[in-house]
């Protein structure tokens, strides 16, 4: 379980999130732009600190402002895939993929390369890749660091429609074949329908509704989204 109870003052509102997110399957965080989705991701991965509150991942305290605990991002074992792939431009794909790997597990490497179908790209530099390919490498890179949880912050939003479809099928495979818990941030309801088992809807930095995807999609709250 990912247990979150945090508060952070942002420019236009106070972000307040209190909920438990299951550490299995895909949990989608749905919300319009500026609703605080990326803030939530950055609070979980440690790139920003909450003003008050605590975050626990499987009983391990990552943040507890009362006790003065703050685990730095490199110690959290939480992978993040951002909107832009953010590959290291000076490294070839293979070096990008293995950057976070503590020791190279060849079997795991081959498995991830095969699931994401990136075997032919290993010796290229990021500048030679398409948007979809870059994003697949970014996912592979995050997975090879062996995270306990994978955060995906609108990973498809910078891609065109064919690339979105292509990458969604890879994310499907990821969930089915690699069995890694994913928190998936999006403002696209079709992506939620396709991959998520649970949905949390954010508005103005507050959790509005949470539940199973089916249940949430039928709720009155999401009528205007459909």
């Amino acid at each position: 379980m990912l247990n979150i109870n945090v508060s952070k003052k942002l420019a236009s509102f106070v972000f307040q999130f209190k909920h438990e997110i299951p550490c299995h399957g895909v949990t989608a965080i749905l919300g319009v732009s500026g609703s605080g989705k990326s803030t939530l991701i950055n609070l979980i991965n440690g790139l920003i600190k909450p003003d008050i509150g605590c975050i626990k991942l499987n009983q391990t305290t990552l943040v507890d402002t009362e006790k003065g605990i703050f685990t730095t991002p490199e110690k959290r074992q939480i992978g993040t895939v951002f909107q832009d792939a953010l590959l290291f431009p000076h490294y070839k794909v293979i070096k990008n993929l293995t950057y976070g790997a503590k020791s190279l597990n060849t079997e795991r490497f081959d498995e991830i390369v095969s699931v994401l179908n990136i075997g032919s790209l290993l010796n290229r530099y990021p500048a030679m890749l398409s948007g979809g390919e870059k994003q697949r490498i970014a996912i592979g890179r995050a997975l090879l660091a062996e995270p306990k949880l994978l955060l995906m912050d609108e990973p498809l939003s910078a891609l065109d429609m064919p690339r979105k479809k292509e990458l969604l099928s890879y994310i499907d495979k990821l969930v089915n074949d690699l069995n890694i818990p994913i928190v998936y941030v999006t403002h696209n309801i079709n992506e939620v329908k396709r991959i998520a088992q649970h949905v949390a809807v954010l508005e103005q930095g507050k959790l509005q509704i949470y539940g199973d995807t089916e249940q949430i999609l039928q709720s009155d709250y999401l009528k205007e989204w459909l």
């Binding site: 074992q77 939480i78 993040t80 290291f88 000076h90 976070g100 503590k102």
Partner: protein
């Protein structure tokens, strides 16, 4: 153009002084640039101003300040001499120190701009992949700032080669010890029939700067090609 023994000596001394100045000030220059580019702290503006002060102060003032602080009876110089037998007075090490001080802000400025132009999200991604800040700096920031570091090094090196005022004030103009190309040209221009010798050194100076710029451009292109595939 075949150089005379005096010209060779002057050229090699200038290269030694400029090279030492750059080698010893580069790590500090990179650290200072990184602090200015990436850190927020109280007094940052003051720190920034102090770093850039040599850029606007007359070199003679810098030389005099060095004399007061780093000379044999200076505040720091005396201490260094007593405890480490390290002296900067009237020797080539002093000339290198004077050059380094004058070139420092130019170097920092160039490196700082390079670090600021790096997408800081790349450094954040590296942190989420388990890299500690030092590893992030060594594997992401430093390689990506390479063109700026190179440009800063070349600019600093060229500034060191051209340094005159601080050097002559701090370590004087001693043949074979502190007489670099500009000081040798100045000396030649003070004596009758010295003009042709000064002109020859002037050509050497221009060639040296052109070679440094050419090499930096080649390295920069190689780096750019690597990044863009």
């Amino acid at each position: 153009m075949i150089l005379t023994e005096f010209e060779w000596q002057t050229l090699l001394l200038s290269l030694k002084i400029a090279g030492a100045a750059i080698i010893f000030s580069l790590p500090l220059g990179i650290l200072t640039a990184w602090i200015l580019a990436r850190c927020q702290f109280i007094g940052k503006s003051l720190f920034d101003s102090i770093v850039h002060l040599p850029l606007v102060l007359p070199p003679v003032v810098l030389g005099y300040l060095l004399l007061l602080t780093m000379g044999r009876h200076g505040i720091i110089g005396e201490w260094l001499n007593n405890y480490f037998h390290l002296s900067f007075s009237f020797n080539w090490q002093g000339a290198a120190l004077a050059s380094a001080v004058v070139a420092f802000p130019l170097m920092v400025r160039s490196i700082r701009l390079a670090i600021e132009s790096i997408d800081s999200r790349l450094e954040k991604v590296a942190r989420t992949l388990g890299a500690k800040p030092f590893r992030v700096f060594m594997t992401i920031t430093l390689p990506l700032a390479f063109p700026g570091i190179l440009m800063g090094t070349v600019l600093g090196f060229a500034r060191c080669l051209g340094e005159f005022g601080a050097t002559i004030t701090f370590v004087s103009n001693i043949q074979g010890e502190t007489r670099t190309i500009p000081l040798a040209m100045y000396t030649l221009l003070q004596i009758p029939d010295g003009e042709s010798g000064a002109l020859r050194l002037c050509i050497v100076s221009i060639l040296l700067s052109l070679i440094a710029l050419f090499l930096s451009e080649m390295l920069n292109r190689w780096h750019k090609k690597k990044l863009t595939g």
